[in-house]
Symmetry: C2
Subunit: 318 residues, 2 copies
DNA sequence: ATGAAAGCGCTAACAT
DNA sequence: ATGTTAGCGCTTTCAT
């Protein structure tokens, strides 16, 4: 018992014995068994993190924020990748719950009812991230997706654009991009405008797909002065198509992405984007779990809406 | 006991009772406790994954391959992010070991001796990934970094390039990029050539940094016909600088990255790169761990070197 | 095919 | 400040 206490600073051990125990532990290369500790203490240092994709840099940055917040706390993230599949998501969450994690961070708020019930019944802190347009099970940290789309539409109208095209990927499965576009279209309509056309692929977003979709769009609907993309990846591809095709950007066509990825500010021609605090979303979500774990609370019960920033930048000057 | 057996297909339970138990479990929403199962069975379904960065898409893709391989196996990845810091790496590995994971996947083979000992003594399957130039503790899956650099140098010489510049980031900490450059320089030297100059930043790689470093390089050493970058991110930044500055790429300067990221094939002007099988590295590493876990072996003992492919593509034609 | 006993490696609660 | 007892929720082993 004294050894157990010494190794985890549980107090009530003489300074001298703490040293002796630690020294001995070092000598024999003792590594405590967290499985036993967790079973005995009825809590783990595991935090489940569920994201739709690992190869999308956006979630890498969220994870990076989570890792930063968790560093030094003794907690460890366990990752699940759903591939935008809600059945897979449910199974992953079920698997995580059987580890009795200290908390769960789950992407999005649009889970099927069954999954919501699973999260609700689990009796542990849950933070849903990225999206504030919906009804979270417990805590949430994210941005207002619909309003982000609307804000961009208003900014583009103010910059004098009138004939809008829409290009997106995997709309069925990425409900956040869909919400943004609904906000975008609603704001256009409020001013009496309508998108000229739309091209949506079911493939995952990539620069290359963005380039291909843009060629396709322009062949079908030539007459636009602004292209609204679901995200920066495909928007960058759109810029590349325009540059290769000799289309003046932003003079002739203003290109609009979403996220404010690092690459955007280094592009040879300017495009518009909306900056999102991806790393901070991860950081704040992990903080909420940590705080709940600290006070042994099974709930987070906080909703943190983080601001986004429309950035027309040099793309506005045409 | 019968219930326990029924729930995990352990056999020796009547068909009828299996059904009864499962039904009852469903009704009361029973979720097994993996902590207790693990303590009792002396093994976990956890696989530790240690990467230097979460916000670098390369490791996102590795993780994606790992997640694919693990999906359906019942194993779950636990992620640690070292931020290219070897002390942090050691601490993360120690933390993971206390969960007695089924195996560990660790980036790189150049850990300090103390960490190597930790991995060696752990008595569980370890796979070191990305880099085959070194002495792995147990298994390894990766590419020959030195040779990859050399192969690119030979290809560039064959394409007629003679005056090479070198641009890199965080060289101190990214030993794999350093190995590639040593291979590159060695192959140049073998043909009697030397790099004209070098600019190395200690910042993490990004498109923006690549753009800035390229401007800096060209101000200092104007006379080059080829720029060798540590990776695609900064190479793309280099291309953007050249395009904005009106430098003909690849006619005047051939730009060379590394990894073969998706973006490369969509760029408005061609750059050279070396394709690397990042997702497959993750997949194969996870497979090795899975196989070792299956046969209850504490070792992997396999070295899988995956091929890379130099791609001058349209960048060669000048 | 089912069950009883023992125990995995710790910690919580309670002595002393 | 240190030690004792009980037990976390399962699985393993051994009976039956």
């Amino acid at each position: 018992m004294t050894a157990s206490r010494a190794l985890r600073d549980a107090g009530d051990v003489s300074r001298e014995n703490v040293e002796k125990v630690r020294q001995a532990a070092r000598e024999i290369g003792y590594v405590g068994n967290l499985v036993a500790m967790s079973l005995s203490s009825q809590r783990t240092n595991l935090i489940g993190v569920v994201v739709p994709s690992a190869s999308n840099i956006v979630f890498g940055e969220v994870l990076s924020g989570i890792a930063d917040a968790l560093w030094g706390s003794g907690f460890q993230p366990v990752i699940g990748v759903t591939d935008y599949d809600s059945e897979r998501e449910a199974e992953i969450i079920r698997g995580m719950l059987s580890w009795r994690p200290a908390g769960l961070i789950v992407t999005g708020v649009d889970q099927p009812e069954e999954t919501r019930l699973l999260l609700h019944t689990a009796g542990l802190p849950v933070v849903q991230i990225m999206d504030m347009d919906g009804d979270p099970v417990d805590g949430s940290v994210g941005i207002a997706q619909f309003e982000a789309g609307a804000a961009m539409a208003r900014a583009l109208l103010a910059a004098g654009r009138r004939r809008f095209g829409h290009i997106a990927c995997a709309r069925q499965r990425d409900s956040r991009a869909a919400k943004r576009f609904r906000g975008f279209a609603a704001a256009l309509e409020a001013e009496g405008h309508l998108p000229v056309g739309s091209v949506v692929s079911e493939q995952p977003s990539s620069v290359e797909i963005g380039r291909d979709l843009t060629r396709e769009f322009l062949e079908r609907h030539g007459d636009v002065d602004c292209l609204y993309y679901a995200n920066d990846d495909i928007a960058v591809g759109g810029l590349f198509h325009c540059m290769a095709a000799g289309i003046d950007v932003p003079g002739n066509v203003l290109i609009t992405g979403f996220n404010g990825l690092d690459i955007v500010k280094a592009l040879p021609e300017p495009i518009a984007t909306t900056h999102t605090p991806r790393r901070e979303i991860g950081y704040r979500a992990a903080e909420l779990i940590l705080k709940a774990a600290e006070r042994r609370s099974p709930r987070v019960g906080a909703a943190i809406e983080l601001p986004t920033r429309v950035d027309l930048g040099a793309a506005a000057a045409d």
